[in-house]
Symmetry: C2
Subunit: 208 residues, 2 copies
């Protein structure tokens, strides 16, 4: 499956193929579990092949390398976050408080669904090459700057009160990863309770 | 040097010996640098020996294993934090706002001096055995509960306002690691500026 005939187009159909993406997602999910359990460096492609049930030669059809998997995990997190701003029209909502509340909710639910992936981002991003790490950090910064825009609008309308928009946006994004990064000490809270506490805490930090 | 004569006392003199502790601290510092650069798993005792200039056989006189070094790094962070509460008398200060402000300052300055060690705690604690990880998490919880005590006193005196003391304490400790965990996006701030922003943000979250 790795070899292609000459008539086969190079990459576009791979990226747009639903089945291809579904299989890639499967690989990412299983690999994340292994990376979390054993660490990224100690996980071999052979183990990923075993965990996914995909023959190792076929595995390379879907992903270029082990580093490619790690990169795709992080890409997936940021892609989802960017979609919220870009495709789901969060930036076209006029009311900044409404925007912030929606963002908080979406990010918190996401931090439950993708807790492993978020923790992996903090733990293993150092394993990426400088080039790929740069891409990941740029995407993360993009998310922060969307939030910064919302905060600035809210400040101009005197709904929000804070000193520095960039710092506040960074802090909010960071706070929204609380559960992923400190899961061991958050177990006493139900999902609903923790979401409620987080939302109140973040809103308090920007409301007067 | 690893072998001891029978007449040599077992461990007490090692732990109380100033030179022994100084050498151990040297090892921890150098090893942290290597762990940050290469990752914990990929760093060998041989490399630590080379970096410290301590012959590998002598190295084992000061530390039991590579895992022991990682454990000692985390112990050092928590020990410093506990000292603030226990030996430096923070818990005997009557005014809760004064207590909180002192804690914030001490922790922020600490997060500058030991940024690598704090980041390592989030990145590599998974590498510890379950037994050692449990000890580390218990020490971290102890720090959180000291802060919880301060917050509760402040709430009883109507100085602080929050819903859940444990959540708020966890969040404050987490916020104080902001720079260590998101250093790449904090470079635009001077140390003084970031400390000022962090202090204001945390105080706002508990003051009315």
């Amino acid at each position: 499956m790795r070899k292609k005939t000459l008539s086969e187009p190079k990459s576009k159909p791979r990226k747009t193929n639903v089945l291809f993406q579904k299989r890639q997602m499967q690989i990412i999910k299983k690999a994340t579990k292994l990376f979390m359990k054993k660490g990224y460096v100690q996980t071999s492609m052979r183990e990923i092949s075993r965990a996914t049930g995909i023959d190792i030669r076929n595995l390379y059809y879907f992903i270029k390398s082990k580093e490619d998997i790690l990169f795709l995990v992080f890409e997936m997190i940021h892609k989802r976050e960017e979609e919220l701003f870009e495709q789901e029209g969060l930036m076209t909502v006029d009311d900044p408080l409404e925007q912030l509340k929606t963002l908080i909710h979406e990010f918190i639910y996401y931090s439950y669904d993708y807790a492993d992936e978020i923790l992996l981002l903090y733990r293993e991003s150092k394993a990426l090459s400088k080039r790929l790490l740069k891409i990941i950090l740029a995407r993360e910064s993009k998310v922060v700057s969307y939030l910064e825009e919302i905060l600035k609008k809210g400040k101009a309308r005197k709904v929000f009160h804070f000193e520095d928009a960039s710092f506040t946006a960074n802090m909010i994004i960071y706070q929204l990863s609380l559960r992923a990064l400190r899961r061991w000490n958050m177990k006493k809270y139900s999902k609903e309770k923790l979401i409620d506490l987080l939302e109140k805490q973040i809103l308090k930090s920007v409301l007067a």
